[in-house]
């Protein structure tokens, strides 16, 4: 079935102020993608939604995509301690379904 691989695969540790890049690769071409943020035990908060591989920006966040490589990236600039949490990507390959990655846990330290 369709799969989503996130990298770094498990966790990423940064110092405050550093930039982060998270990536998702997909096993198939897709119509849209969405990035979420989740605190432990919390709800998934939509960060960016991108139909048709368009680049999206929101504050310190930018999502970009390489459709020919079935890959998308989430760039976090000037990371802050409050950015710590889990970041998940989701893809919509067509039809009813949205397929999620397993998430990357980001820890930003002072």
């Amino acid at each position: 079935g369709q799969q989503v691989q996130q990298s770094p695969p498990a966790s990423l540790v940064l110092q405050e102020g550093e930039n982060a890049e998270l990536q998702c690769t997909y096993s198939t071409t897709l119509n849209s993608m969405q990035w979420f943020y989740q605190r432990p035990g919390g709800r998934l908060v939509s960060l960016l939604y991108s139909p048709s591989w368009a680049e999206q920006r929101g504050g310190r966040l930018t999502s970009s995509a390489a459709s020919n490589e079935s890959r998308s990236s989430l760039h976090i600039s000037s990371s802050q301690i409050t950015d710590s949490g889990t970041y998940l990507c989701a893809m919509e390959p067509g039809g009813y379904k949205v397929v999620f990655g397993s998430g990357t846990r980001l820890l930003v330290s002072p």
Partner: protein
Amino acid sequence: EAAVTQSPRNKVAVTGGKVTLSCNQTNNHNNMYWYRQDTGHGLRLIHYSYGAGSTEKGDIPDGYKASRPSQENFSLILELATPSQTSVYFCASGHGGAISYEQYFGPGTRLTVL
């Protein structure tokens, strides 16, 4: 911002008991979804709905039923709860179809089956 609420937020049930998880959205979205989230498995789709009166099986529907009595409400029903159904359950809504697959999530329900 999308408004999706879930109740209860926490539930402890006994094996063999019936559990109903409720979800309400005020965005007039056509599509609603039920997921469970477990360490090592990520988010998995249980049931979804295209609109009032419709329910469809997702990837892991066994042991679960769903009900969509109205545009706003979508319930997940565990007729005979088992310990393997201990998890965090999330409801989501979205326009779906030709409009957008962007999804909006509720706060989650933590279910423990003893």
